[in-house]
């Protein structure tokens, strides 16, 4: 099945994005990235040391052929994020940026106001912006309107490994979005990634869960499989969940219409597939925005 994941016109062969922090060693990070099959890795610009390029800097360990997504983690406001993004573009040569504005060093919760401001400034400056954001449907719409290439709502607090705590909001965001939705942060085990994909996320980004696993390389592979499984499950279109009442045979409720004579007014079809918004495939269509 051809099911490309396309961000800003670029086809990516994997729907798993991987972060590069918190690993025991750059070599472990590299091996985990390779095992994950990801084609997009994010690197904190504050960790990049261009003075050490070729001499053990973290960028030296990003495998060839994997696209780099520098991030602005540590930025506390829009001004700082924009300055950091520009430094990153000058230093790394890519105009893609994962926008992170996290003024609270404890939760690392994204500042919605400053994130939107920074996104507007960065898009105007020619960046391809992938913003880490709160799982807020309205904010995601605003970020999309600002010209962001994706939205990246959080599943739970960064590093918490607590899973898809924002599921209800993610479902709304997925239903509304005209750009890819990447669930970022908080996914703790592979089944969390599968869950995010099953509810229709276009991709997931995982870092801590892989980096602090006992075997990061095996965990990277596990997340890759779970992401793929979740995507396939979404595309396959789940059956209706039976509950206690529908499981019982019940008498038809609209039989009486036949006895009234004239048109019934009954629509022809109208299953869940028709609910997909413009630019977003409904489950089972096998294409992407």
């Amino acid at each position: 099945m051809d099911d490309p994941f396309v961000v800003a016109g670029q086809r990516l062969g994997s729907r798993l994005l991987v972060g590069t922090g918190k690993f025991a060693a750059h070599t472990v990070m590299r091996d985990a990235v390779l095992a994950s099959g990801t084609e997009l890795v994010t690197v904190a610009l504050r960790r990049v040391d261009l003075d050490r390029a070729g001499d053990g800097d973290i960028l030296d360990f990003v495998p060839a052929g994997v696209r780099l997504l520098p991030n602005t983690s540590g930025a506390v406001d829009a001004g700082e994020a924009v300055r950091l993004a520009r430094l990153g573009r000058a230093g790394t040569g890519t105009s893609w940026v994962k926008l992170e504005v996290t003024p609270d060093p404890r939760t690392l919760a994204p500042d919605p106001i400053e994130t939107l401001r920074a996104a507007e400034l960065l898009v105007a400056d020619g960046f391809t912006v992938l913003p880490y954001c709160s799982a807020d449907p309205v904010l995601c719409r605003r970020l999309e309107e600002a010209g962001c290439a994706t939205v990246m709502p959080l599943g739970a607090w960064i590093g918490s490994n607590r899973g898809l705590r924002t599921r209800d909001a993610i479902e709304v965001i997925v239903a509304q979005a005209g750009v890819p939705v990447v669930v970022d942060a908080g996914l703790g085990v592979p089944s969390d990634a599968a869950e995010a994909m099953e509810v229709g996320a276009d991709a997931v980004l995982v870092n801590t869960a892989i980096a602090v696993a006992r075997d990061p390389i095996a965990m990277a592979r596990a997340f890759a499989l779970a992401t793929e499984a979740g995507r396939l499950g979404y595309l396959a279109g789940r059956g209706t969940v039976a509950d206690a009442t529908t499981a019982e045979a019940s008498s038809p409720l609209t039989d009486f219409l036949g006895g009234l004579g004239g048109p019934t007014g009954q629509p022809a079809g109208g299953g869940p597939a028709a609910a997909g918004s413009a630019g977003r495939p409904a489950p089972g269509t096998g294409t992407d925005a």
Binding site: F23, L45, R52, R83, L87, P105
Partner: protein
């Protein structure tokens, strides 16, 4: 004229730290404290108590899991740069105390830049600028000049100096300063008065209030701590440090708060600790602190011996100095001035980094970016 009690001092008065510390905790209290997801000061007191000493391995395992989740397998490295050992304060435990007949030296800004150049050559991108308390030789203007001089080359600069007024913190932040470290040394007012006998630092409340002034001025990282061995009840000091950190976290939500619990080392002062804090108690204190403050950076200097440092990075510590000298100019020309204290872990930065790698941790040399726009 002594400074009035500040916000935290008044808050601390309400906590009854000595009472919390003196309570007789049972094994059941320790179990309860370990089992909680969010721990309060009474839980911390239980984890610090003798009752928890027998459960040290359990504490360490829980602390390790917490540290790993929040910080991953990464330890930030930094180096101190001693700017000056000139001092107008008399602290009975300190090798820089005013009346000690030691070789004094204050580096020029050029000399500081040379020291920093050596350290960046060794890989350091986080430097802590340390000085004695001499407001003439180490003035506000001098510190601002040093920060402005170093900032193009050093992404993260912090100071550990005398305390300042809010306008000075604001100037330093504007110059590119990232962090301010002011250890209260002890939160026991009587012991504080007995060990800080003269000078600017003698004013307990002025010192205690300074971290709040720095936080209000927009300093991004605030460091607090106590010098274990100054007060008889070291557990009370750990509780106070924890309460201080929690207070700052609440007051300045944008600010990262770090904590440290240095133990007294031999110095020209000849000071002997009032009470010894054993290595096991020290590990207990840091593990308990981690469980109380899962998000706080915990800093460990070269005061502690290599084997203990190697063990503590696996449990609670997230930032450590390495290859340190505690004398002004000690990296360029060792032996030209007297050191503040004798370090214990004498390994080079490369050796410490190799230890971290062997232990399964990444040595993080750079975890910061310039805070001022250098292109302007």
């Amino acid at each position: 004229m002594a400074a009035p009690r500040g916000r935290f001092a008044r808050h601390l008065d309400t906590l009854d730290v000595p009472g919390l510390s003196a309570r007789a905790y049972t094994d059941a209290d320790v179990t309860a404290a370990l089992g909680r997801e969010h721990r309060d000061l009474a839980d911390l007191a239980a984890l610090l108590a003798p009752a928890a000493t027998a459960r040290l391995e359990e504490l360490a395992q829980a602390a390790r899991a917490t540290t790993l989740r929040r910080f991953g397998r990464a330890v930030r490295l930094f180096a101190p740069v001693y700017l000056s050992n000139a001092c107008l304060s008399s602290c009975t435990y300190c090798g820089f105390a005013k009346d000690l007949p030691i070789a004094r030296r204050t580096l020029t800004v050029d000399e500081v830049a040379a020291e920093a150049g050596l350290l960046t050559g060794r890989g350091f991108r986080h430097l802590l600028l340390v000085a004695g308390e001499h407001r003439v030789e180490v003035s506000q203007d001098y510190l601002v000049s040093v920060v402005e001089r170093l900032r193009p080359h050093v992404p993260s600069l912090s100071i550990e100096t005398q305390t300042w007024s809010d306008d000075t913190y604001a100037r330093l932040v504007a110059a590119g300063l990232e962090g301010v470290v002011h250890y209260q040394e002890t939160y026991d007012r009587d012991r504080y008065a007995a060990t800080h006998t003269a000078g600017w630092k003698r004013d307990f409340d002025r010192r205690l209030n300074s971290t709040e002034l720095a936080g209000a001025a927009g300093v991004r990282r605030l460091g607090v701590g106590a010098l274990l061995g100054l007060a008889e009840d070291w557990r009370a000091d750990v509780l106070s440090v924890a309460a201080h950190a929690a207070f700052l976290v609440k007051s300045f939500w944008r600010t990262e708060v770090t904590v440290a619990l240095p133990r007294i080392r031999p110095s020209a002062s000849g000071y002997q600790p009032l009470v010894p804090v054993s290595d096991a108690e020290y590990v207990q204190a840091l593990a308990a602190l981690r469980l109380f403050e899962p998000e706080a950076g915990i800093v460990l200097s070269t005061r502690e011996p290599a084997a203990l440092r190697d063990g503590l990075v696996r449990i609670a510590v997230t930032q450590m100095s390495a290859g340190a000298s505690t004398e002004p100019g000690g990296y360029s020309a060792p032996g030209t001035a007297t050191e503040q204290f004798a370090i214990s872990d004498e390994r080079s930065a490369v050796e410490v980094a190799a230890m971290l790698e062997a232990a399964g941790y990444e040595p993080v040399w750079k975890d910061a970016f310039p805070l001022v726009d250098l292109s302007r």
